[in-house]
């Protein structure tokens, strides 16, 4: 059963600003000039639907861009949409440091000219027990890691969000310790499912969803997928992460979607897919068990949640 007012909005209605290059994987080459050319634009919805599981349905552009957590713009799920208007993600660069051959700063354009932008339709499961299906555009994090040239001693990757309290009103309050930080184990970071997303629905990444570049790790709770990344550090010890620091009894470093390990505030056994009336069962690793379960075969997931 569906709820009114949350039907899939044809994304075409949001995309009349420019003509897109159809199906071109090379569109990333245009990234040097255009702000919206970061993504692989394709006005054909069926391209995204092709990547869907049979039980999944794309969430609308409106749902994805008006309901999400991005505490940098406020703690309510409508705040990112309402308060992100003054954020200016251009130009953008990412600092690479820690255990790398040489610390450096990459302009986003430079990164984009060296990678392949592709479509990835992923389920996103929030720790608050709601979920969406989102058509991202982006590239594998592993491609950037190769460019970064980490040393063999690097076992973990840490990510840092931009700190701009004048553009991000949520950062004017110390709700969490800014800047937001997240981390992955190296093998998680290198997994082909892990992407850096630069767009959704063929749009350049909207401010409220983490412009201009964010992480997407689809088998982990949404808070792991850190937004508006300005720094990537390679480390030999497990980095501290924002939510774990704030409430270690509630959030762990791994944060793998796991219906069998409950959060003290939300049962993780079920979830509400945005746009659906009845809750659905939460899948182990958010349904990506085949791709990632091997990463954790020696790990007690009830301890390392």
């Amino acid at each position: 059963m569906k709820i009114l007012g949350s039907e899939i909005t044809p994304y075409k209605t949001y995309l009349n600003r420019r003509k897109f290059i159809k199906g071109s994987l090379a569109s990333a080459m245009l990234a040097t000039i255009s702000t919206s050319a970061f993504a692989n634009h394709d006005s054909d919805l069926s391209l995204y639907n092709k990547n869907l599981n049979e039980n999944d349905k794309l969430n609308s552009y409106e749902e994805i861009t008006t309901y999400n957590n991005f505490y940098e713009f406020g703690t309510h799920k409508k705040h990112p949409h309402l308060n992100s208007g003054n954020f200016n993600p251009h130009p953008w660069s990412i600092k690479i440091d820690g255990l790398v051959k040489k610390s450096k700063t990459f302009d986003l354009e430079k990164i984009l000219s060296n990678v392949t932008i592709e479509d990835r339709v992923y389920r996103l499961r929030c720790v608050e027990a709601w979920s969406m299906v989102i058509p991202w555009q982006g590239f594998q994090l592993s491609e950037l890691i190769k460019m970064a040239e980490p040393l063999s001693s690097a076992k973990y990757v840490q990510f840092v969000t931009v700190f701009r309290p004048e553009e991000m009103p949520g950062q004017q309050k110390r709700t969490i310790i800014w800047p937001y930080r997240e981390g992955l184990r190296m093998d998680e970071a290198m997994n082909p499912l892990t992407i850096l997303a630069t767009g959704l629905y063929g749009h350049a990444m909207p401010n409220q969803n983490g412009a201009p570049i964010r992480l997407v790790v689809p088998w982990k709770y949404g808070f792991k997928s850190i937004k508006s990344i300005v720094e990537i550090r390679f480390l030999d010890t497990q980095p501290e992460t924002s939510w774990e620091t704030l409430a270690p009894w509630e959030y762990g470093f791994y944060a793998n979607v796991n219906p069998n390990v409950n959060h003290p505030r939300w049962s993780q056994g079920t979830e509400r897919r945005i746009g659906e009336f009845k809750r659905r069962e939460t899948l182990m690793f958010n349904g990506y068990e085949k791709e990632v379960a091997h990463l954790y075969k020696d790990l007690d997931l009830t301890k390392f949640y």
Binding site: I3, G5, Y71, T75, E128, K173, R265, S267, R272, I274
Partner: protein, 201 residues
């Protein structure tokens, strides 16, 4: 101006005023205008309204200590019953819309998740309050016993605000404000009790 008569006269207006939000949200829910996650939104609005009304009943008692405002106390019952009304709607949204009467899940939820435990106990404590809210009941129970039962509003208010406090993930400003108001109102009562001239037992 603050006569019993005027307060009585204002009752129908207040009745409509307190009823209106629930009708509006129900209408918005049915027509699909309650945002992207309407069940969550409905539950949040109903719960917040209930908490505010619970605090309002405590405030009314405090206000009625001010001599010229004394008659305001006749509004308390209606507001208390509206608080109960919103709590019932809040709770049934959780049971029916959020969890589709999956009782096994709901019982686990109530036992395991502190914030739901707080909310549920608060709801249970409100039941005897609401069901003794008639003049006839006051007569049958006697004012003393009736009053004792109605002291339950204190744990109700504290638990309800804790229910909200624990639910919020990071910025706790709003629940802390509600808790602060409740604590002030309760402190005032304690203060009053100790400063009141002692009656011979």
């Amino acid at each position: 101006m603050f006569s019993t008569r005027n307060f009585n006269r204002s009752k129908p207006v207040l009745f409509i005023l307190f009823l209106f939000p629930s009708l509006l949200w129900a209408y918005q829910f049915v027509t699909g205008n309650l945002g992207v996650n309407p069940i969550e939104k409905l539950m949040d609005e109903l719960g917040l309204m209930a908490l505010r009304l619970i605090i309002l009943t405590l405030m009314i008692t405090t206000l009625s200590n001010i001599k010229p405002l004394k008659p305001i106390v006749i509004l308390r019952r209606m507001i208390g019953l509206f608080a109960f009304y919103y709590v019932c709607l809040h709770f049934s949204t959780y049971i029916v819309l959020d969890h589709f009467l999956d009782m096994q899940f709901i019982i686990q939820d109530i036992i395991k998740r502190p914030f739901i435990t707080f909310g549920f106990i608060s709801f249970l404590f409100l039941i005897p309050l609401a069901s003794t809210s008639t003049n006839n009941m006051i007569k049958r129970l006697g004012f003393k016993l009736w009053k004792k039962i109605h002291y339950l509003i204190y744990p109700v208010a504290i638990l309800a605000s804790m229910h909200f406090y624990v639910l919020v993930r990071a910025d706790k400003t709003e629940p802390v404000i509600y808790m602060g108001i409740i604590i002030l109102l309760l402190l005032h009562r304690i203060f009053k009790r100790f400063t009141r001239p002692q009656l011979a037992q």
